[in-house]
Amino acid sequence: MLISMNWIGDFVDLRGLDIPALIQRFTLSTAEVEDIYEMGRDLRGVVAGKILSVENHPDSKKLHLLKVDGGDKVYDVVCGAPNVREGLIVPFVKEGGMVGGQEIGMARLAGFESHGMCCSEKELGISADHSGLMELPEDTPVGRDVTELYGIIDTVFEVDNKSLTNRPDLWGHYGIAREFAALSGRELRPLETVSLEQFDSLEPIDIDVQDKELCYRYSGLKVRNITKKVSPVDMRIRLFYCGSRAINLLADLTNYLMLEMGQPMHAFDCAKVDSIRVRRFDSPFTFTTLDGTERRVDENTLMICTKSGGEDIPVAIAGIMGGLDSEIEGDTDSLLLESANFDGASVRKSSTRLGLRTDASMRYEKTLDPEMTVPAIGRFMKLLLGIDPQAQVISRLTDVYVKHYPKVELAFDKAYVDRYTGIEIEDERIMGTLSSLGFEPRQEGDRFTVGVPSWRATKDVTIKADIIEEITRIYGYDNFEIATTMSPLYPRRRSAGAKADNFVKDILVQTYQLHEVHSYIWQDVKKCRALNIEPEENIRLINAQTPDHEVIRRSMGPTLLSVLGENRAFGAQFGVFEIGRVAEGVRKEDGLVNERKNLGIALFSRTSGEKELYLKLAGIIKSLGRSVKRVELELANCQPEFKWQHPRNTAVIMAEGTALGWICTLVPSVLRSIDRKAAVVCGQLDMDAFASLPEGELSYREPSRFPGIDIDLSVVLPEGMRFADMEPAWKGAGHLAGVGLIDSFQQAGRRSLTLRFSFSSGEKTLSKEEVQPIVDGIIERLSAGGAVLRS
């Protein structure tokens, strides 16, 4: 929103103050100023000049030779504007002056000397009109500086609309002026209005607010005999500076009022609209707004109608835009003035549905103060009668006030202010600040009671903490003494989840050289298909950007497999991981999504075989268990959960009987979709469950001072026997400190393993003779299980 400091100056006298510094204070205390524009400072020596004579140029059809009275003397001027005529008063830059930042010197144009320049409005920077010279009123004193005459020199600043979202009172100059008054300590002048009681004897307008839910107040007044069509120059300049466009007097006045008070108004042509009905319709219909667009209006949209032949004819979309048919045109001489208040949320939603956001709807959606409607009419009449004294009010003020906001009063102690701010702000300052902002504060001892003005009471100020904001923002946050907190020491508890995440990431990155990636929580259908993976069914988003992204992923697998495929050229061997979320359907008991935090890992290799890679992944998972939780995670073959998992090589990750995830190789079609030659494996670990595992105890063993003995045994395994199946053969064997795998190979179709059994004792050096019986026992139990010693 654009704010003119000249306009602000109508309400608070800021003369003698440093304006840029004050605007800076506004940013820090009220709302962010995005830009400051200095208007009219590129003009110098522009006076009201009277064209005394006009002669055609002998050689040019367009150019004229003028004699212009500049007040001090008569100037010869060559001018190309179409609307030159004798007696016309125009803005005139004398030789030596400046316009648009350009010095105007004596120029020779088509053989004649020109000692100045007559200007259009655009050249002065006060409108976009460049059709001809600006025509000044006949009574303009010749020789007067034009910039002084019309307030052309101004400082205009732009406030970020977003930072005004919660301040309905700041959507007009008067509200902004109140802030400047508080910031500068100067007085805010009351708005000059016409007293409307004088019309009480006139007929009321037929206004019926049928929709008492969405229309809070509707005030109207009828006026006729409006003779003036064009707005005064200074008014048009202000409108232009504030981003509006002059149209005709009545439209300009409603816009001017909105920019001044923040109250949107609408002027209906009284000949077309003489009664008002405010309602919604049961079924959708089309309506042409005054921008000429046909719009489909639905049953939730509040409409302003007029009664005609027993029917309600829509004439405006409430709070958004008027209709084309009831628009004020150049010849309109009577109007029905609307000054109303509508439900903010409803205006916002209608405006979204219609795709039509206007200056009015933008204001209404902030929840405007309904108290404003009547003073706005009084102000409108004050301005209208000032411009067009012939105008005549022909109705009494008709005011249907449906919804009053309750009067808000807040009470608090001085101690509350001290505690909340952490600094000492004197009582007088509290009282002064609140009064200057229009609050009604009272003080009894340490107790403050504050009445909230209507323009802050629609939603903005409702609790005592809101009052703290008023006091502190005017005090200035950069004036705060800052101090550290004084709170007692207490131990910091660490969340198990966050701890495990960090630990796991470190191991994967530092030890296993994996790369962490981030992806999306939804399944990507296109990417699944590219992997030959049939998309899963799962809970859906109801408003995804594309149907390809609407199902929440059930597993980390497909996402990470896609990442591998997309990075195939990255290296001959690499792996990626992500700690992300999946949804395992919806829980029956509460209907909420069963969201799980999962670690997903996927490995890719052109140098290792699939088996090697699969066992590497198994090793990674086990090392996570040992390092992070000091627990032995177990892996066991299991049925795949998903079709893309290889039925022979999918294993469940278990800890103390609970499944924590899986690792798998891929079915051939999926594997080949990633890379024709590479090996790929992937796995998933439920981080929520993993983090909540109790940490294993570390039981310290004295290191043995005696050397141990290693015995290597090579065993041939029967079909289907796993390492884990042999473990009972040595479990609990005396002096056995550990069993390691030395070698593994296939021989004549049988799997052969070389195992190293390490024996040691804390009391003595073990002799071969002592160990042999233990080894014999192991061998015996192994062969009982079918694993025989290789000869």
């Binding site: 903010g344 705060f480 966050a498 809970i539 997309e566 999504v593």
Partner: protein, 342 residues
């Protein structure tokens, strides 16, 4: 006898000079000091001389023996040193500039910055918490005082699920959970993934990270908030950062602020990054709204607190000059594998 001793000394010195290896020196030792060595023989011969002579000659022979022993060990040291030197000089000089192997993998840049922040906060006594991504309307809106008609709840901003749940639009969705879990006093940060239903481009992502923090205790004030934010941001940027607060409206804080820091590019002089204002808007913060405390089970009459929200994704982009936000979720290792160190 005396002449023999002298003759032996001379011949030893000559032979020692000629012995060029440790083997030759050893041979020499055997030849002179061995069981049948010349010096040993000399000592044996002493028994044949008279007692008077024996004493004098004995001294001479022993002197010779000690001299030979010493010269031998000196010579061995010399030869060892020479051999060591030869070995050293003959050794290969390795090329340490060859490419090395065994580099670590990489952390996602979000993890890198998140950990830096976590370290700063934990050093100030904050716990690090974690929260779901799929949340309820209550958690995301109600519990943080966002009223029913607030634009943030409009469909176009929020991803809703079939069952009425939604993808959290901000980390504030965890405030209620944290307050309920820890009660007051409480200091916690909670980084997390957030979602906004909007079209993506170089500067917009529908999936991004924030980090929220809250501190609740008796007598937490605006003055504390400003102090804390300044201290924290100076740590984040590793320099003394100037901060300023402006009023900002967020339903879950009152008063609420937009916090600006003096532009790090121009130092506050004004440049294109800060739109010539000298300030860059960095993070919203404020005093926790009494309703939020109340819904979190904390008595707002007894406790106050502040909250702040850092745009983690934005910090990463600022810190590393990432121009396209979409790189972060792309899984493209050409981009991501650069972040080897946390």
């Amino acid at each position: 006898m005396k002449e023999r001793i002298e003759g032996l000394r001379e011949s030893f010195e000559q032979e020692l000079k000629a012995a060029g290896s440790s083997e030759a020196v050893e041979k020499l030792r055997v030849a002179y000091l061995g069981k049948k060595g010349s010096v040993t023989e000399l000592l044996k011969g002493l028994k044949d001389v008279g007692a008077q002579q024996k004493k004098e000659l004995g001294q001479h022979v022993n002197l010779l023996k000690r001299a030979v022993e010493q010269r031998l060990s000196e010579r061995i040291e010399e030869i060892k040193a020479a051999e060591e030197q030869r070995e050293i000089e003959g050794a290969e000089r390795y090329d340490v500039t060859l490419p090395t192997e065994g580099d670590p993998g990489s952390y996602h840049p979000i993890t890198v910055v998140q950990r830096q922040l976590e370290e700063i906060f934990t050093s100030m006594g904050f716990v690090v918490e974690d929260f779901r991504e799929i949340v309820t309307d209550y958690e995301c809106f109600e519990a943080v005082n966002i009223p029913k008609d607030h634009p943030a709840r409009d469909m176009q901003d929020t991803y809703y699920l079939e069952n009425g749940q939604l993808l959290k639009t901000h980390t504030s969705a965890a405030q209620n959970f944290i307050l309920q879990k820890y009660g007051a006093p409480c200091r916690a940060i909670f980084p997390g993934r957030c979602f906004r239903n909007e079209a993506t481009d170089a500067s917009h992502e529908n999936t991004f990270f924030q980090m929220e923090g809250i501190m609740v205790d008796k007598n937490i004030s605006i003055s504390n908030l400003i102090y804390f934010m300044k201290t924290m941001l100076s740590e984040v940027f590793q320099r003394d950062v100037k901060v300023r607060l402006r009023p900002g409206f967020f339903p879950f804080v009152e008063p609420g602020f937009e916090l600006d820091i003096s532009c790090l590019i121009c130092g506050g002089e004004g440049c294109s990054t800060c739109h010539h204002s000298g300030w860059v808007e960095l993070c919203p913060c404020g005093m926790i709204h009494p309703n939020v405390l109340k819904m979190g089970g904390v008595d707002p009459e007894e406790y106050t607190g502040f909250a702040f929200g850092l745009g983690l994704t934005r910090l990463v982009m600022m810190k590393y000059g990432v121009k396209d936000i979409r790189d972060l979720n792309s899984g493209n290792l050409k981009a991501l594998a650069q972040f080897r160190h946390e």
